[in-house]
């Protein structure tokens, strides 16, 4: 296991990158702590797989350094870095048995056969495939194949980290849940450093202790699932996490009040002066629909079973609100914003606010 320091890493797929837009990874400077479970979350093309491949050594970064436990590994090959990686599509060696698949990485490294046998049997138990050991790997289901891919990483006891590149994409929904909880269990039991790339927020939030949200080649926020939900540091995080995403609307700020068109909104505190376009962000979960507040025109109610999502217009802008499954939309609907859920953004970045407890 290892602590992984990503030291001002930039990467471009072009031979001669000039401007920022040429970089698939603009600049990442972050430490993955030893034994941590991290998720790299972001939309397609945000650079998360690039970052993962740089950590695993399949890509050499254009700039920057990579340290494992303080040792510079930037120029080491994948094999020398001793990491394990699970890919989007299961990679198995068709012609081998399940047992031989797991033994393969050890035999390649010249481990004595007695140790190979012991390690493979342990790993088969860990991934719950002991009864399949003698079967040909090609006949297995997608989730079993993916477990073998994982097992080939686990079998090497000294791996520095296990990297996952959207490993559950081709797995059936009900098996996804099972595999994810098995992964979590493995992490708790053996304390591997795990980095998990995904564009699925549920996967990221349930798997990881720390979620690293990436956008347009850079990291926009690192935090626990709760932090990402309550205080998105960037409006993108607000949009991307949560379903539906955060409501963001342009406002003018005057002390502790925000003005949206003809409406005045009380803020939980006075935001520090920020420059650029000022926006107010509030999650649909904090928008209260009722008989008092600001008038809205409801356009659609989506019943999701557990709760309802109300789509409406406020001052001509789209806004979403979440209400309980058995709540009804009032005849003359109005909304209030719960101050606890209000965030203010300047140029898309969160502005600090001295929060005062309401009613105090």
């Amino acid at each position: 296991m290892a602590r992984i320091d990503v030291n001002h890493v930039r990467h471009s797929y072009l031979p001669n990158p000039q401007k920022d837009a040429d970089f698939a990874l603009r600049e990442v400077h972050h430490t993955f702590e030893d034994g941590g479970a991290y998720a790299l979350l972001g939309p397609s093309g945000c650079g998360k797989t690039t970052l993962l491949n740089i950590i695993s050594g399949l890509l050499h970064p254009s700039h920057g350094q990579l340290l494992f436990n303080g040792r510079d590994v930037t120029n080491l090959s994948t094999q020398e870095r001793n990491i394990a990686q699970v890919f989007q599509f299961p990679v198995i060696y068709d012609t081998m048995t399940v047992y031989d698949n797991l033994a393969f990485p050890l035999r390649n490294r010249g481990v004595p056969e007695a140790d190979v046998d012991r390690k493979v049997r342990e790993t088969l138990d860990m991934i719950d495939l002991a009864s399949w050991a003698k079967k040909k790997a090609r006949g297995l289901t997608a989730d079993q194949k993916q477990k073998i891919s994982l097992g080939r990483g686990l079998v090497r006891s000294d791996v520095n980290a296990i990297l996952f590149d959207e490993p559950l994409t081709v797995i059936d929904p009900h098996m996804k849940w099972v595999l994810r909880s098995q992964l979590k269990q493995l992490h708790r039991r053996f304390g591997y450093t795990m980095v998990y790339v995904t564009h699925d927020q549920t996967e990221a939030l349930t798997f990881a202790d720390q979620v690293v949200v990436m956008y347009d080649g850079g990291i926009v926020q690192i935090g626990t699932p709760a932090e990402l939900f309550e205080r998105p540091r960037h409006t993108f995080v607000g949009y991307f996490i949560g379903s539906p995403g955060m409501n963001v609307m342009p406002v003018a700020i005057d002390g502790k009040t925000a003005t949206l068109g003809s409406q005045r909104i009380e803020l939980p505190g006075a935001p520090k002066a920020g420059s650029g376009a000022i926006e107010l962000g509030i999650r649909p979960e904090y928008v209260r629909l009722g008989r008092d507040g600001m008038t809205v025109q409801v356009s659609k109610v989506e019943d999701l079973g557990r709760h309802k999502v109300v789509r409406a217009k406020l001052e001509g802008r789209d806004i979403a609100a979440v209400i309980g499954e058995d709540e009804a939309v009032p005849a003359e609907p109005k909304v209030r914003f719960d101050p606890a859920g209000i965030n203010i953004y300047a140029d898309s970045w969160l502005v600090e606010m001295a929060r005062v407890e309401m009613g105090a």
Partner: protein, 288 residues
Amino acid sequence: MEKTWNNKAWFLVLPVLVLVAFSAVIPLMTVVNYSVQDTFGNNVFFWAGTEWFEELLHSDRFWEAMTRNLIFSFIILAIEVPLGIFIALNMPKKGWGVPVCLVLMALPLLIPWNVVGTIWQVFGRNDIGLLGYYVNAVGIDYNYVQDPFDAWVTIIVMDVWHWTSLVVLLCYAGLVSIPDAFYQAAKIDGASRWAVFRYIQLPKMQRVLLIAVLLRFMDSFMIYTEPFVVTGGGPGNSTTFLSIDLVKTALGQFDLGPAAAMSLVYFLIVLLLSWVFYTVMTNYDAER
């Protein structure tokens, strides 16, 4: 469930039956017809029974041609399959090299067979041929018209030149279908170059290789045009393969009965060997 019986369905398969009848069954039947009769022309036939077949199976000439043909097929398979795999492995996977290589590989396949024969016939001549002249000039005694060994070398090199690209193209198709993740996983697993070939590339090429071996075997076992143009079956009978022998019997000597018997035996052998090949290789596939 009650089954519906409806004989009208036969009408729907009728077109294909008619087509196969005219293209295969009827011509084959005329050959069967010839093989059991004797004729001296004028459409006069005498019943010969199994005479031609007995004669054929006791003929040294037939067995010699067959042996030559099997040796030839074995040699070209032993060269073309490994060479084809080797070239396919070394072809570029992306960039401008891909179309260039593909076109270069496809070129020999696009040349008509008798032209291939003519090219090599001229190329190998030791008076005016580029190859023949210079090979002799460096002191190697090479003359495919007089020396059976040289004739064999010429025909084998010609076949390798003509058909290795088929194996290359089939293998290449198998190779490019392997996702990058397999190579990346192999790197992470610390696999050697040989292990990558043995456990990733070869299994992925297995199906196309089966087809390549089958096609090359059948084709080489039935080879006619190129050796006919280059050596005409000579010197002596040293490059007389089955099909050349057959044509000599049928059209050279106009022995229609024996030629028909030979055709049928030839046909059955090709069918049998192809079947054996196919079953052995697919069974092997299933076992693994």
